[in-house]
């Protein structure tokens, strides 16, 4: 059964089925939230708030679209709200422009890059680390990342490429 079919059942007849959604997504969403805020306790709060908000607004979800992208979007919004709230406390690197290197794709395959991402993700700016973690750690497609972050697909591609270039430099430095 797809998530969207499950949502239809939850909305119309069996709210207990929401536990299936919670079980399925809680760890993935926690990992994603923690990659954004770098704080397990806050990441847990974000995920909890996300499930509450998702349930409250479940009738507003269009079942023709992807539930996964929708719930990731809520996590993103919650995380951004929390970052704004604790701006001084959460250590965010300032935005900086990273030169693009389109050849990076040839040098790195997805598995190798995923390992590098896990090691050095926290060292690159959020605007780059977020699409990167969604792509390599959450296994989302460019299209899905574009939906979650509200960015054009081309921008997602550019950011991932730039992030990989930066990641390569940082990882080399750390070795």
């Amino acid at each position: 059964m797809t998530d969207e079919e499950l949502v239809k059942i939850i909305r119309t007849s069996d709210q207990e089925q929401y536990s299936v959604i919670v079980k399925k997504y809680q760890d993935k969403l926690f990992r994603y939230a923690n990659n954004i805020v770098n704080d397990e306790s806050r990441a847990t709060d974000i995920v909890q708030q996300t499930f509450i908000k998702a349930f409250i607004n479940l009738n507003g979800f269009d079942t023709k679209k992807s539930f996964s992208s929708w719930i990731y979007r809520i996590v993103h919004n919650e995380a951004m709200n929390l970052i704004k709230k604790y701006k001084k406390e959460v250590s965010l690197l300032p935005d900086f422009d990273i030169p693009s290197n389109d050849n990076v794709e040839d040098e790195y395959n997805k598995e190798e890059t995923a390992t590098e991402v896990k090691k050095c993700l926290k060292e690159i700016p959020l605007s780059y680390s977020e699409p990167l973690s969604l792509y390599y750690l959450e296994d989302k497609s460019y299209e899905e990342i574009s939906d979650i972050l509200r960015l054009p697909v081309s921008t997602v591609g550019t950011r991932i490429n730039r992030a990989k270039t930066q990641l390569k430099k940082i990882c080399k430095k750390n070795k």
Partner: protein, 149 residues
């Protein structure tokens, strides 16, 4: 990378069972969306009126221009700004927590709305459709205006 796992199932489900969190009904979202549509439509009507006013002003006019301008201004749909403000405030308030814009390309939507408004304004002016919208007060379609042009 952390390998910590969380289990929020019981916590969330107990809140649902106790009724501490409840799903908003479907009509809530429909009403919110309708308010937004109504508000945006009213803004479109106001903008079309402004475009028509602008196109009237760039035409050559005779000695009765001031009077005709007054006539145009008096045909302004006063309900439109009221509906626009109320519709948008109500719509935004209702949909505040609801991601109604999910999976929509905002730049494309904005471009579409602006293009549609400008095109509507020009078409209304060109084909003299304003009599259906604002009454026949834009000084077109009568003998005096034809002479003035």
């Amino acid at each position: 990378m952390q390998k910590k796992q969380i289990d929020l199932t019981n916590e969330i489900m107990s809140k649902i069972k106790k009724g501490q969190i409840k799903m908003k009904p479907k009509w809530y979202f429909v009403l919110g969306s309708l308010s937004m549509i109504l508000g945006l439509s009213s803004i479109s009507i106001i903008l079309m009126f402004v475009i028509r006013l602008f196109m009237f002003s760039i035409r050559s006019h005779g000695p009765m221009a001031d009077i005709r301008l007054q006539q145009i201004l008096s045909s302004f749909p006063l309900w439109a700004p009221v509906v626009a403000i109320l519709g948008l405030i109500f719509g935004i308030f209702m949909l505040k927590k609801y991601d109604f814009s999910y999976k929509k390309n905002f730049y494309l939507v904005l471009l579409g709305v602006i293009s549609a408004i400008i095109l509507s304004g020009v078409l209304i002016d060109k084909f003299n459709l304003d009599r259906f919208m604002f009454g026949n007060r834009f000084g077109r379609g009568n003998g005096i205006n034809r002479q003035a042009r």
